[in-house]
Amino acid sequence: MSMSGFYVAPEQLMKDKADYARKGIARGRSLVALQYTDGILLAAENPSRTLHKISEIYDRIAFAGVGKFNEFDQLRQAGVRHADVKGYTYSREDVDARSLANAYAQTIGQVFTHEMKPLEIEILVAEVGLTIAGDQLYHILYDGTVMDEQGFSVLGGEAEAIAERLEESYEADMSFAAALAAAVNALNGDAEGDDRLIAEELEVAVLERTTGRRTFRRISHAELQPLVESPEEPEAEAPAEPTAKKDDKPEA
């Protein structure tokens, strides 16, 4: 790293980098992940139909990112490669989110410390367990910090405000519809009427605790419509009873 010759304290360098990264991330939209009865739900505000923030990494592992798209998409691809090669050279059962999260943390931390510009990203690696107790959520920050979270995880710009809202409505063992309602309400925040998110502005996927090998499934806008646009009142204690059924067709 070339400097003009003036001394800069390491603390200052790191703080500047951290500020830079946080600003980049704060500009973007948010994302939530939460555990529910049948698996893990991931929901992001995403107006694009084709550029995904949430993707499949492996049989029981999903990736989600916020911030600069090209930066976290490159990490996504690296994660798929890591998982597929590990599964090939060892076995499918040996691929887990924890080791992938650690690999991400190392790489991201390395870039933060040694490169000119930190990655303006925040990512999540989620793994669905055979039971709720086995679910894992790893939240990795721009500087390589890894946090192992329970219940739910929030990434992106307004993470604190969204987390607070989710704290109120989240319950362990929710149905899909209740979990989706809690997630969307949290993402909506104070927005009212036309400002509230519609199905087309959401990217939603789940890791389903099914007997099939691949548990990742995207929820189409058509499936979301009845669940998102019908007014689900945000309740602090009990989420409203789900009226629409989740579509059970496996993804082609």
Binding site: Q74, L75, A78, R81, V85, Y88, T107, A252
Partner: protein
Amino acid sequence: MNLPIFPPEDSPGSNFPELLERLGHTLPVPEGGMSQEFDTHATTIVAATYADGVLMASDRRATRGHSISDRTIEKVHPADKYSGISISGSAAFGMEMIRTFQLTLEHYEKIEGKHLSMEGKANQLSGLIRSNLGMAMQGFAVAPIFAGFDLNRGVGRIFAYDVLGGRSEKDDFHADGSGSITAGPVIKVGWKPGMSKEEVIELAVSGLYEAADDDAATGGPDVVRGIYPMVATITADGYHRVPDDEVAERFNALIARKTEQGHRP
């Protein structure tokens, strides 16, 4: 394990075999020959199109020299939801090729976010066979059949390969392996366009029975152990293995017919 990050200009993209090579996971081709007796061989495989899609079937025997090394080997496997791959020739390299092929298709889908076309899959398999050329020239060739239901065209398609990776599409049927010199003509004589599922299974059963009858390396129905050739269908509903008891029933009926007719050598 490290995270495989590549600069954009030097990335293997969605190509799984190239990724393996770049990370140093491919085996070098040893020099010098090796007696083929050390290699386990897998034999008769067949595929045939019918009204709903395509059928794939194989016997269950693997041989090493003159010995039977495996009585229950399955040579037909799903490649992905709508296609299947079967191998004849070297069992070790064949099974490895199936595994790599399955991973190649899944890897592409995850990196790109969409499935490969049928042509794309067929081409990928050509590449895999070609990369086995070193081994093929030493005598460990693998000749697969790739078949599947083409969602765009709404029909079953079959791709046959030679050991060099040369590919040709078959509208009707194909057989490969040491028993194919018998299974092939049997299926050829019985095949007609638009067969029903029952008819095409019956035809495959016939072909495999006759192949086992003529070829020492092909296993026929083993009624003592209850091991029968395997059959799978690939249609708009995807790859499905025909249950063993249904296959057993067909073979038992065939055996009963032949016994009654006084089937003589």
